[in-house]
């Protein structure tokens, strides 16, 4: 009987612990192509036609 009570206590503690664990949000890694950057923030902000003001 005592064992049974003890087992119930352990189970309850485990469940309590499980309930307090933070919610798992899967990892998200995003890489962008030049076109996606253009789409996201617009052409002038992505890059001028050339990154060099001198060029030539």
């Amino acid at each position: 009987m005592i064992d049974e009570i003890q087992q119930k206590k352990v189970k309850a503690t485990k469940e309590k612990g499980r309930n307090t664990m933070p919610e798992y949000i899967p990892p998200k890694i995003i890489t962008y192509t030049s076109d996606e950057i253009l789409e996201e923030i617009g052409p002038a902000m992505a890059c001028s036609p050339s990154p060099c003001a001198v060029g030539g």
Binding site: K28, G42, A44
Partner: protein
């Protein structure tokens, strides 16, 4: 550490935080959520994949399989962007290689613009670079696998053997001709039409009044007539305008973009005025009214124009070092500046690494005396390439800046012009910094 992270302070409490993970030494970056960052940090600390998965299992109570799969996925994506590599701390370096030559073919010019950075700085006012030297250099460039040359002056069309040079160069490499356009008639346009050539015409005002007040009476009409001839000859897609920003046209810059649009010119570029040559002597007239704020307002304007118009004329606003992704042609060593891949040759044969670095301390050799190989392999070239790669790490404010591997400390030549040293940033560091923050905050969803 193979990366450092940036997140906006403006994230709402209800939203999961997002981060930009910047590669420690390259221009690469990725966006990650909290869990992504957490896993990336473990991996970056050298924790084994199974142990990182173990942390997820213990911390969130998820299954071992799910945890392992997520860690592997993050590891894979980071590796594809060259994060986590043992050499991630190795700094970018430029090995000199010859891709292009910028020739100042002649000191002759039919105009005498007060803002010119060349005229007035030459010892001999009417001198051409010998054609034989140009041919030898072009041959050597082609032998090195070089692809393009720029012909500038003075006015390059005034070189006494310019047709010979154009024909010779056109058979070997791509040409970019920088001209004021006033000498191009129909015969010239027909001559140029069959060539592998791009033509840049200097337009400093959107009206006859403004342009002629800078370049001389009648020049606006002549330059636009040249444009017409060139377009009729089939070169429409190969022409761009170039404008030097100065007192006289500061408030006309949007007008020049509209002019390019009306005349079907695909690209217009704006170039900062330099305090050199004629411009230095006439600074009061051409440059005294220019402020950093004026330039910043113009950058904002071009940014706004392009965002709202979609396709139209491309505008290069003159701001160097603002890029979110390395252009393909610079991906090999991850340095956007062309220094170390080009040479500038003056009429005297002197070789420099950039038109903005034509000072004695950056002189690399002389094309009359030295082979291109010797110039490219010179200690002076190695030194300037080292500086190019190291500025972002050695300039104090850059070394702790989030954007250092993107702007790479800005333009070395403009820094020399603006601050008198390459070991400082140029005048637009603060502007770029704000623009980067704005761009990345937008990417982070704020």
């Amino acid at each position: 550490m193979s990366f450092f992270s940036y997140s906006s302070s403006r994230t709402k409490k209800s939203e999961q935080k997002a981060y930009i993970l910047f590669h420690a030494c390259k221009s690469r970056w990725i966006k990650a959520n909290d869990t992504g960052l957490n896993i990336a940090q473990y991996l970056d600390d050298g924790v084994f994949i199974d142990d990182v998965a173990g942390h997820l299992v213990a911390g969130y109570g998820i299954s071992e399989d799910a945890a392992r799969q997520d860690v592997l996925s993050v590891s894979d994506q980071l590796s594809r962007q060259h994060f986590l590599e043992s050499n991630a701390q190795v700094r970018s370096a430029r090995t000199p290689v010859l891709n292009s030559i910028f020739f100042h073919l002649t000191t002759r010019c039919n105009l005498s613009c007060l803002h010119c950075y060349i005229t007035g700085s030459q010892v001999n006012p009417n001198r051409d670079i010998p054609s034989k030297l140009v041919f030898r250099i072009i041959d050597s460039l082609a032998d090195h696998g070089g692809k393009s040359i720029t012909l500038s002056g003075g006015e390059p069309l005034l070189h006494h053997e310019i047709r010979k040079i154009l024909k010779y160069a056109g058979s070997k490499v791509e040409i970019l001709l920088l001209t004021n356009g006033t000498l191009i008639d129909r015969a010239w346009a027909d001559f140029l039409a069959g060539m592998n050539i791009f033509i840049q015409i200097s337009i400093d005002g959107s009206t006859k009044e403004i342009h002629d007040s800078i370049r001389g009476r009648g020049t606006f009409e002549k330059s636009l007539k040249a444009l017409e001839y060139l377009q009729e000859a089939g070169l429409r897609e190969k022409i761009n305008f170039s404008t030097t920003v100065m007192n006289q046209n500061l408030h006309d810059l949007p007008g020049i973009i509209s002019l390019a649009e009306r005349l079907d010119v695909p690209l217009t570029r704006f170039v900062p005025l330099r305090r050199k040559g004629m411009a230095k002597r006439h600074w009061e007239a051409v440059g005294s009214g220019l402020t950093i704020k004026d330039s910043e307002r113009f950058y904002e304007h071009t940014s706004h124009l392009q965002k709202n118009r979609g396709s139209g004329v491309d505008v290069s606003c003159g701001l160097s070092g603002f890029l979110l992704k390395m252009p393909e042609e610079f991906e090999d060593d991850d340095i956007w500046c062309p220094i170390g891949k080009q040479l500038v040759i003056t009429v005297n044969g002197d070789a420099y690494p950039c038109v903005l670095l034509m000072e004695d301390e950056f002189r690399l050799g002389n094309a009359f005396d030295d082979s291109l190989d010797k110039i490219i392999q010179s200690d002076a070239m190695a030194e300037v390439c080292r500086a190019l790669a190291e500025r972002r790490h050695k300039i104090k404010k850059c070394s702790v800046c989030n954007w250092r591997n993107l702007c790479q400390a800005g333009c070395m030549g403009q820094a020399l012009d603006n601050k008198g040293t390459i070991w400082d940033t140029d005048d637009f560091c603060d502007y770029r910094s704000r623009a980067y923050k704005e761009a990345f905050d937008k990417i982070l969803g704020n």
